[in-house]
């Protein structure tokens, strides 16, 4: 039934490794993850691949397919010319654990530095009232499945690990934007977005938006508006305070300490 295709899969751990050639069967309608699973079941029982839902919902199976960052479970084999070999490599920005699996702990560390949702403590359970139009922006960002493909592709840290301590990456700059745009949040993360999380390093190339499997407009809807908010705070704090003073505390919310455990 199936046809054969050539797959060149990166195998190895830590620093050492290289591409290994395989010939595998492919059937109609299959995605790259199906073929990797067939490799595991028939030729390479110990091939390390991270996956979970096989439905594009969990963001586990991120890798680079012919050099493009993608979810293996949502990449159909019919996309490729059967005559050409398909090259599969791990995400480049993160250290390889083994084969196609990378160490993404950088992302979890950044997540823990961003001050959490801070509602007004006087609002009781079930008493939040928010209009659909007002939550839609935050909802768009909350579609994020944390595949970290945008983190992987952003040139600020891709091949520049030295920038990692000072830069949260698109996923987490967007998390800041999400909280700032949440109608019931009272913290102010604009100063730290710029000073601690490196919003200024982003030069809006939109590479992150291009690879986002959820189609989130990271650059246009999160990063650029966030940059605007940061500017407005810098140059016109009085105007801003006038508008927000009723709800927001006067102070900038500080970054959470104790990043790495």
């Amino acid at each position: 039934m199936g046809t054969k295709v050539r797959m060149r899969v990166w195998r190895g751990d830590g620093g050492a490794g290289g591409l290994v050639d395989y010939e595998v069967e492919v059937n109609e309608g299959e995605v790259v993850l199906d073929v990797l699973h067939r490799l595991q079941a028939t030729q390479a029982g110990d091939l390390a691949v991270r996956w979970n839902c096989k439905a594009g919902k969990c963001g586990s199976c991120s890798m680079e397919i012919n050099g493009r960052p993608r979810l293996a479970c949502m990449t159909r084999m019919s996309l490729f010319d059967p005559a050409d070999a398909i090259t599969i490599t791990p995400m480049r920005t993160f250290p390889v654990i083994r084969d196609l699996v990378t160490d993404v702990s950088f992302n979890y560390e950044k997540a823990r530095q961003i001050p959490s949702f801070t509602p007004d403590p006087s609002v009781g359970l079930g008493e939040f009232r928010m209009q659909q139009v007002d939550v839609e922006r935050s909802q768009e960002f909350r579609k994020c499945i944390e595949c970290f493909l945008c983190q992987n592709v952003c040139h600020v840290i891709r091949d520049h690990p030295e920038n990692m301590p000072a830069y949260a990456g698109p996923r987490f700059l967007m998390r800041i934007a999400e909280l700032e745009m949440h109608p019931a949040d009272t913290a102010d993360r604009r100063a730290i977005a710029q000073d601690e999380f490196g919003l200024g390093l982003c030069n809006i190339t939109k590479c992150c938006t291009e690879v986002c499997p959820e189609g989130i407009h990271i650059t246009d809807n999160a990063l650029i508006p966030m940059k605007e908010r940061v500017m407005s705070r810098k140059y016109d704090p009085v105007v801003w305070l006038g508008g927000k003073i009723a709800r927001r505390p006067r102070r900038d919310t500080p970054k959470v300490p104790g990043g790495r455990a």
Partner: protein, 641 residues
Amino acid sequence: MTDIDEAAQVARLPYDVVVIGAGGSGLRAAIEARMAGKRTAIISKSLFGKAHTVMAEGGCAAAMGNVNPHDNWMVHFRDTMRGGKFLNNWRMAELHAKEAPERVWELEAWGAVFDRTGDGKISQRNFGGHTYPRLAHVGDRTGLEMIRTLQQKVVALQQEDAVRLGDPEAMIKVFAETTITRLLKDGGKIAGAFGYVRETGGFVVFEAPAVVLATGGIGKVFKVTSNSWEYTGDGHALALLAGATLLNMEFVQFHPTHMVWPPSVRGLLVTESVRGDGGVLRNSEGRRYMFDYVPDVFRAQYAETEEEADRWYTDPDNNRRPPELLPRDEVARANNAEVKAGRGSPHGGVYLDIASRLPAAEILRRLPSMYHQFKELADVDITKEPMEVGPAQHYVMGGVEVDADTGASVVPGLFAAGEVSGGMHGSNRLGGNSLSDLLVFGRRAGLGAAEYVDSLAGGRPAVTDEAIAAAAGEALAPLRRMSGENPYTVHGEVQEVMSGLVGIIRREDEIKTALAELERLRERAASVRAEGGLAYNPGWHLALDLRNIMLIAECVALAALERTESRGGHTREDFPEMSPEWRRINLICSLDGGRVRLRRQEMPPMREDLLALFDRAELKKYMTDEELPPAAEPADGEGTH
């Protein structure tokens, strides 16, 4: 490394409460344990935030009454009992219906951003078996919202600890990509858990007097399933192996609508929201056949004509519900029957049509992931053509027998919550009742575990080196064997047996054949060989999961053979009727000398005030005469809908 000396080298991590599982129930349990001041570990086979809960689409059921003010906990309780065909642990169904709204509001206070009603409250949608719009939701990605919110709440607690104690992980820590293979005991009590770290293959021991199982379901026992690789019944098996009991494992939910084509996505869920939002099922002749499949017990609540059914979407108070929204077991059986009768679609499914029912823009707004899923994976545009769908394994109602209020199993120190626990959903779960179950009973199990730890005072159970050595020896066995079968082959055969012979429709002779096959497979499973080394080796992991898969397959088959009636997620072709005598019987699995034992256990009678929430006439359809309340008017003035 069966050596005791080497066992002494294994890292021992002391905690108060260890939660196995980072889905909705596990995270909610861990949050509660940490808020009760307990040092808590969360262990998960996958990365933080990726557990199966992330896949839930439709919503989370809670009688908040935001859309229809008639809704309240009593209506929700009744719907849940009806959906489960009255076999539910009624105390769990009661707690669930009462506490779900508060649990959902709590999520909102932790940052969840649900879809809103016109007056700014949390919006609620219709779902099968629910009388009123009841499911809090975010488009069709509610599970993602829930898991991300709980994940972010864990992070918020860690941030508090970073400020307060100087270490974010002082009180609550996540051990991702770590798999527990054994629970450890001291005498009769839980003393900890043993596992391996996926990344290195190194072993770890968690020393803790209380363990909460929150490991989810058993989908990978079957061939066609909406569940991911994590669902190998680990928690069910760990509980059995530790001396706990499993309840009603014959009740397996086959959800009616999954993708059937192309083969690589067979089993991918098509959310019930499609039907809740107006989608209808048709056969190859174009007939809307669900009207032909309304069973007697539900006749009064469902529309008899297409016209009435269609009016219900806009005027639910004066019309009855469309039969597409019957509980899942009914719809799954109907779909199955249509295909068997030769009225299926080209790829062995039936048609689910939303295209002719809603404008394209509305479909895109309400069901974005469904649109995406069909477009990307099957080249089908659901705003223009019907979907081809069929049933697949989706959920297991059976699970660890627990105390409703605390989640405690029969083993001191062992708790369970979420899909791994049993009883709440009876013989069939209503859509949306799982996400709320995770919150209600996750919290209760976390609290139960914390209180249990307090009750021990200083005297904590201890983990011995012998126990660690035995667990390590068991884990290493597949790697040490010089020869043996490939674990993938054996797993595939177990799945064939279970799907083919103990699937959606069951018969005595087939189940017996399955048990004989499983007996043969047991030996093969026990001697599989994994190639490669310790680090991130999926073949080895599957070899270890096989023990659990085999145990659970046997439990399901034994219980399915024993229960000679049809009810909810258990359909016996040779015993098609529902029996009031069987309604009072729970089937309990335990382990005895390594073999599964099955026994019957009578269900405690429902509390009178709960019984009074139903019409006597309705109860009569389910219960024996002696169980019925004396013939009088129901106490609840509202009656039933």
